[in-house]
Symmetry: C2
Subunit: 200 residues, 2 copies
């Protein structure tokens, strides 16, 4: 069971539009629909994200689904928004942080969500150019914790940080996304050590 929700950051806007209908979906409706949408994306890809399928899976009225998530792109965008961005839980040692983060990413790749989600984003953005920024954002979110930790080692330039973060995560993404292989944790940790040595 995949769970992308972090309830402490969910933003429910009930009153800004006056006393009438709430502007956003109710929290339980949102969780119900997006949990079903995530399962659907992971098992069948982005093309399955129709209001009809989501209605059948959740019992939520199609009009409600259409109102809050008019297109598959909106469902994907909502899934990315509620995805747990790894929290900045620095140990004080940037190298230890990098090893923690690479373990976290390996977990997320092993448990399927990241690879399947990326594949869904590639597929969705080839059918709908509006989904391209979602794909960029998702990858940038994956890079972010590595950029943060790398920036604390030897004060490299922005460019060097970006290259080093890509050197760590790219082989993992290619193995999972393109070659359907399982991640090799020891290799991922060796890559971190090599990158740290090159940047230090």
């Amino acid at each position: 069971m995949y769970c992308y929700f972090k309830s402490n950051t969910r933003c429910i806007v009930y009153s800004v539009n006056g006393p009438g209908r709430p502007a956003g979906p109710a929290a339980d409706t949102e969780e119900l629909v997006l949990t079903a949408a995530l399962k659907l994306v992971l098992s069948e890809g982005a093309a399955a994200l129709t209001a009809q399928r989501l209605h059948l899976l959740t019992g939520v009225a199609r009009t409600t689904i259409y109102r809050h998530w008019p297109t598959p792109k909106d469902v994907l965008a909502a899934l990315i928004s509620v995805a747990p961005h790894p929290t900045p839980r620095s140990t004080g040692d940037p190298v230890a942080d990098l090893h923690l983060e690479v373990d976290l990413l390996c977990d997320r790749l092993r448990d399927k969500p990241v690879g399947a989600f990326l594949r869904a984003l590639v597929t969705a953005s080839s059918a709908d150019p509006d989904c391209v920024p979602l794909r960029h954002r998702y990858v940038m979110d994956l890079l972010e914790p590595f950029r943060r930790a790398l920036g604390a080692i030897g004060r490299p330039g922005e460019r060097r940080i970006e290259e080093a973060a890509l050197a760590i995560i790219s082989p993992l993404l290619v193995e999972v996304l393109l070659l359907d292989r399982s991640v090799d944790r020891r290799h991922a940790h060796r890559t971190v050590d090599e990158v740290v040595r090159d940047i230090g």
Copy 2:
């Protein structure tokens, strides 16, 4: 204009089935249809590879197209088969070979075919699991010249060669396939130098 054909390797089988209809398409038909198919894949993705579209673009009868390439998967497989695998043009110096190969790959990424083709393969294989081996094969073909040159440096093990080849091409694939950025040749060459140092 993209051209994937290398006519010296095209295999036309006219006589094995006796004097009747040839087993494969005529050479000019094959070139006409696959050139149109490649343009279609690069501009609109794998979903556009219907016999109807190929017929409209080439004038080749739909029955002919169906006979030789019954599904979009068959068209993609044919495109990969006629794609030019970089020839083993070793300079005698494996490091120089790696720099030549990375320049070749950067050219193919800059001119769009590799990125768009990979995206088409990801999309096609999410709709049709039979396309998954095509995606694997395409990436393995991209890795092959790097594996060959790396194998000649310091005699590393198979595993180490594979990791090193992935370290060189993965950041390029992620930048083009997932982030829609242009390739950074200087960075690619620096990666080669770092990988060679680590493996040597």
